[in-house]
């Protein structure tokens, strides 16, 4: 509901008639206020020659020199690495790559079909809302929603956000069940709508991870990594996608093996931005395509490879959306990126929008289970049925 208490409205078409760039992200080699991203005034060379129109003068200060929606330094932060190690849990049996239309949502599934955690809880932008499966359209009569509770005693479901992109967090702002869970997220600049969402969560359930935090333990023997782009002079357009959290999850993959291999989830972060330990890098059997299958800003470059035993049949899942008009949002997955994954031996592929028919259709919505084919313990939700098995 909007701040004025009225019904949310669509105001229709508006044109940008004047624009002035006032702050840009800057990458910090050493974290500043816990973040590897600061907002600074742009250099003069960034502004085009034509002067922009001026907004009305108001207020005494009239200078926007601070990121007003940054999470307060006083907000609770949690350095999970300092917590006592959790008791050894049963290994996660696999990862669900959930069909949320144009967005990302992965869930960690254990051997009994219970859910331990989400890595991202995304939802499409309004323009791409029709890319959702019917049972995930919030407030629609058929809405079934995600699984929001764990059946495991003393182990509530947890949510980890890769970064603050709308299509990676918005479902958390929609579904009231998810808002009862703990959120762990990277310390990044956020916008007004993300700030509004965070303001509605109790501080005790917000766990902000500062940049530079060493890899730390997640649920079910998973591990999380603070990402940082390689090189000192990366394009500023790469900063936000590459300063979030990535996750590795040891599972039985291939499921016939008793040896555990890792599934690595990076959200929109490039693989060379993730500080994976060598023992994990050498033990990967499954990945999700970076940034929904983008080929921009090196998203499909510098890839890791699967374990040798898989040959060129490494497991890869693509999460993207196709609208009812047949439009692939943002053109994902980009054919050139798919070719790069195949060249790096990630050829056993499924997608949330098209199943095995990536970029050749017909569309066939479905959740993907990468790992052992276990039955989800929670029935009656949009996440209870895992259509595509990759085991």
């Amino acid at each position: 509901m909007p701040a004025d208490g009225g019904t949310p409205q669509n105001y229709g078409s508006y044109d940008i008639t004047s624009a002035t760039l006032i702050l840009i992200p800057q990458l910090n080699a050493k974290p500043v206020n816990g973040s590897s991203v600061s907002l600074v005034e742009p250099p003069a060379e960034a502004i085009a020659g034509s002067p922009a129109a001026a907004p009305p003068k108001a207020g005494a200060k009239n200078k926007f020199n601070a990121p007003p929606f940054a999470v307060s330094k006083k907000q609770k932060t949690t350095n999970v690495i300092s917590a006592p190690p959790p008791p050894a849990p049963p290994p996660i049996s696999g990862v669900g790559i959930m069909d949320v239309g144009q967005g990302n949502c992965n869930m960690l599934i254990d051997q009994t079909g219970n859910i331990w955690a989400y890595y991202d809880v995304g939802y499409p932008l309004w323009f791409y809302i029709s890319s959702l499966p019917g049972n995930m359209r919030f407030a629609a009569p058929g809405y079934q929603g995600p699984i929001v509770q764990s059946n495991i005693a003393n182990n509530p479901l947890q949510i980890y956000l890769s970064h603050w992109d709308w299509d990676h967090w918005r479902l958390g702002g929609l579904d009231p069940g998810l808002q009862l869970l703990d959120f762990t997220f990277p310390n990044q600049p956020i916008g007004p709508t993300a700030a509004n969402f965070l303001a509605g969560l109790p501080n005790a359930r917000k766990h902000m991870i500062n940049a530079g935090t060493p890899p730390f333990a997640g649920p079910g023997n998973s591990a999380l990594y603070c990402c940082f782009p390689p090189g000192p002079n990366v394009p500023i357009a790469m900063i936000i996608n590459n300063t979030g959290l990535a996750m590795s999850v040891p599972t039985r993959l291939p499921a016939i093996n008793t040896t555990l291999h890792d599934i690595v989830l990076t959200g929109d972060a490039n693989f060379n931005s993730v500080p994976l330990p060598a023992n994990v890098t050498a033990n990967i059997a499954g990945i999700t395509a970076v940034h929904h299958g983008s080929d921009n800003h090196g998203a499909a470059d510098n890839l890791v490879g699967p374990i040798n035993a898989l040959g060129n049949q490494g497991y890869i899942a693509y999460s993207y959306g196709i609208t009812t008009g047949g439009n692939h949002a943002y053109g994902f997955p980009v054919p050139a990126a798919v070719a790069k994954y195949q060249a790096a031996n990630w050829s056993y592929a499924r997608s949330t929008a098209e199943g095995a028919n990536i970029n050749v259709g017909p569309t066939a919505h479905g959740n993907i289970q990468m790992g052992a084919a276990v039955v989800i313990a929670q029935a009656g939700t949009a996440f209870s049925t895992l259509t595509y098995q990759m085991n």
Partner: protein, 140 residues
């Protein structure tokens, strides 16, 4: 228990409150200016066009709540009347021109802009309350 204010006082207080409500609460800016956080920049490799998504707040609200303060506020900010402004299908040249930057390399997520947004007719743009996705499909 003290006596309630008489009708004259109540009327005055209501009028003062209304002035504040009218100036600072509605999401649309009376001057058409907005502070805009560039939340998403996506390149469609197939069409070589860009989608831009801004989280915008009326200039007047931001000036009142944030920029007019003589000190930098470190406490979390109150819930703001944030809107989404989305524009799709811009070429690189159009992005650069529209955002008044010298090169596409300066267009980055997490940047802040001051934008003047005027009602238009371009079907590739949309200004909306983000919570529009909470409404049943039959109403939207």
């Amino acid at each position: 228990m003290s006596a309630p204010p008489n009708n004259s006082w109540s009327s005055t207080f209501t009028s003062v409150n209304d002035q504040g409500q009218n100036l600072f609460t509605p999401p649309l800016s009376p001057s058409n200016w907005y502070y805009a956080f560039l939340s998403k920049v996506d390149l469609d490799d197939t069409s070589q066009t860009y989608d831009l998504m801004f989280e915008v707040v009326a200039y007047e609200w931001m000036q009142n709540a944030i920029a007019s303060s003589p000190v930098d506020i470190v406490a979390p900010f109150p819930v703001s009347p944030a809107l989404i402004y989305h524009v799709v299908g811009l070429t690189e040249a159009e992005v650069v021109k529209t955002l008044n930057v010298s090169d596409i390399k300066w267009v980055a997520e997490a940047s802040w802009y001051l934008l003047q947004l005027m009602p238009g007719t371009n079907s590739n743009t949309d200004l909306y309350d983000p919570n529009i996705d909470t409404l049943p499909p039959t109403t939207t």
